[in-house]
């Protein structure tokens, strides 16, 4: 695959005279810098405030360079800060989210890959209907599913539990992963499956030996999509869990000002960054593969 940074097939700026080229280049870069600043500024502000003493923030406002730096607020945010009645910092909620996100990501991706394989390569009567119904979930607003889920979780005895959220996110996520995988597998030639069937392989052997080895690009897409989506998800966590069982996104709502007493902006800033770090990390690591996986077919 051509690497975008080393190989450019078409340079849209390389037209017209030298001076015109230089001018258009300047405009493009100015615009890029402006937008980059707009997107990065919230992160920068939160990051600087996580190191500043409280009185300095109160005195000089949010937007200012730190005069003195301390990592103490990070430690406090992680382990002793009081959120929603417990004083264990965000670590407890962080692990809640981790325990919810990792299984739900793995399960929804696994189901999606098998669904996508079956729906693209083992056509059966009404398969388009099945596919349509599964992917309807992509377009269904989450609010609409709240009541049915509350009912199901209640019946299963999974209310206010991480396991309940794992179930919800797995099922909701299957819509996306099925859509991604099915559309990716459609580009795998049917002849491969036919050849394997003649060779004597069945459904699962073809899956294991032929489809899975072709799947890394779309697996990466599914994992990144599901991990960041579930990690950042807020509505289900807030509605179906409370207190010590909440995921981190729901827990840090406490910062929105409903609490009494003094605000600890610096500790809260550090907490927020803890909450944002894993998806950010995943995207930085896998972002390149994410774009690649979305745009590539299975077999060149």
């Amino acid at each position: 695959m051509a690497d975008a940074t080393t190989h450019q097939e078409f340079d849209p700026l390389a037209t017209g005279s030298r001076s015109k080229q230089r001018r258009s280049r300047a405009i493009v870069y100015t615009l890029l810098v402006v937008f980059a600043l707009i997107y990065i500024s919230p992160l920068l502000i939160i990051l600087t405030n996580a190191f500043r003493p409280l009185e300095e923030i109160v005195r000089e406002g949010f937007i200012s360079m730190p005069n003195s730096m301390s990592f103490g607020y990070w430690v406090e945010a992680w382990s002793t800060f009081c959120i929603g009645g417990t004083c264990e910092g965000v670590s407890r909620y962080f692990s809640n989210t981790l325990l919810m996100t990792v299984p739900a990501t793995i399960l929804s991706t696994a189901f999606g890959v098998v669904n996508g394989y079956a729906l693209s390569k083992w056509r059966f009567k009404g398969d388009m209907w099945v596919f349509g119904l599964i992917t309807l979930g992509v377009f269904l607003p989450a609010q609409m599913t709240l009541l049915p889920w509350a009912f199901v979780l209640g019946k299963l005895g999974l209310s206010n539990s991480i396991a309940g959220l794992v179930l919800v996110h797995t099922v909701q996520g299957i819509s996306f992963t099925t859509l991604f995988c099915r559309n990716y597998f459609v580009s795998v030639p049917d002849d491969l499956i036919k050849a394997a069937r003649i060779d004597g392989a069945g459904f699962w052997r073809i899956f294991r030996r032929i489809m899975l080895p072709l799947s890394p690009p779309i697996l990466i897409v599914c994992v990144i999509w599901q991990f960041t989506g579930i990690w950042n998800e807020f509505l289900f966590g807030t509605v179906f869990t409370s207190g010590a069982n909440q995921p981190i996104t729901s827990a840090i709502v406490a910062f929105s000002g409903s609490g009494t007493g003094e605000r600890h902006y610096n500790v809260e800033a550090a907490s927020v960054i803890f909450a944002a770090l894993p998806p950010l990390f995943i995207y930085v690591i896998g972002g390149k593969y994410f774009v690649r996986g979305l745009t590539s077919g299975a077999v060149k």
Binding site: P189, D191, L192, K194, A195, A196, R197, I198, D199, G200, A201, R205, R209, I210, P213, L214, V299, K300
Partner: protein, 369 residues
Amino acid sequence: MSSLQIKNLRKSYGAVEVLKDINLEAESGEFVALVGPSGCGKSTLLSIIAGLESVTSGEVLIEDHVVNDAAPKDRDIAMVFQSYALYPTMTVRQNMTFGMECRNIDKATQDETVKRVATLLQIEPLLNRKPGQLSGGQRQRVAMGRALVRDPKLFLFDEPLSNLDAKLRVEMRSEIKKLHQTVGRTTVYVTHDQIEAMTLATRIAVMYQGVLQQYDTPKTIYEKPANTFVAGFMGSPNMNFFKAKAVKNGDGFSVVIEGGEGTPLPLPADRYDTLTDGQSIIFGVRPEHFSPASDNRAERKGIASVAVPVRVDMDEPTGSETVLLTTIAGQNATIVCEPDAAPAIGDTVDFEIDMTKISLFDRKSELRL
């Protein structure tokens, strides 16, 4: 023993019938070519034999067992696909052993078989490469290798050479023929290339629009095509078709090409006894069955012949022979002759027709008379 039998086979996709009452049977060790234009149902028929498609009605028998309901893996067949269908993430060796692995054949036998087949196809240096690192011709060989390791009852080929360039295609063609002679297995070979069919097959099945037009030896197909479709499809350049009339001429009949001077071309006696005087017919002559009248080829062979005047409109020299695009009695005709004997463009010269090699078809039914 017949190795493959197809009885009254029909196949429909929804309301569209793509195979209409196909009957076919191949003796053990035979090389059957399924030939016909694109979309006539060749691949569908092959897929049905392989068990990848179901039949709508009719029967498929392999070694006298009805296999209609048998899964592809239980039919003991091997197939080479037009796209080669090599498993892209496996090495050449793994591609070849996958089928044996699925059948739980022990590792030692697998290695031995791969070695034997790789030697046969001269692909030993490629065994550890992935398909993506192979050229088109090499992929083709590997695809055949994957079929050969299985030693099945039946080999199925679906246009295996159509993705190769012309030179390689000719090479691989003779290689496939050699392989068939070595291995001796019954083979069904789909192609749209009539030359491949002619050179490889022991019997050719010509298909058109889902109907089996003729199933016979290459010689018979070429010399006695069952209808105008088969006559036109097989042979290159195409057979010439003239609108003509049959005319009673003493004991026998003559052919009179319409639109010309009305010269009767006497047919060999004792044949064509179904003709009636004045019957409208199609008169089929292959381009190579014309010869310049000055050669006296017919006289030397002791065949009565009459020369017809031919106007040469254009020539296409191929080196070994020259193709003349001509007009005979106002109808277009293609003639093949030796380069040295080719007349100049614009000239009108006499050519004689070898009347023992011609074909006559009924004008309405287009069937052979």
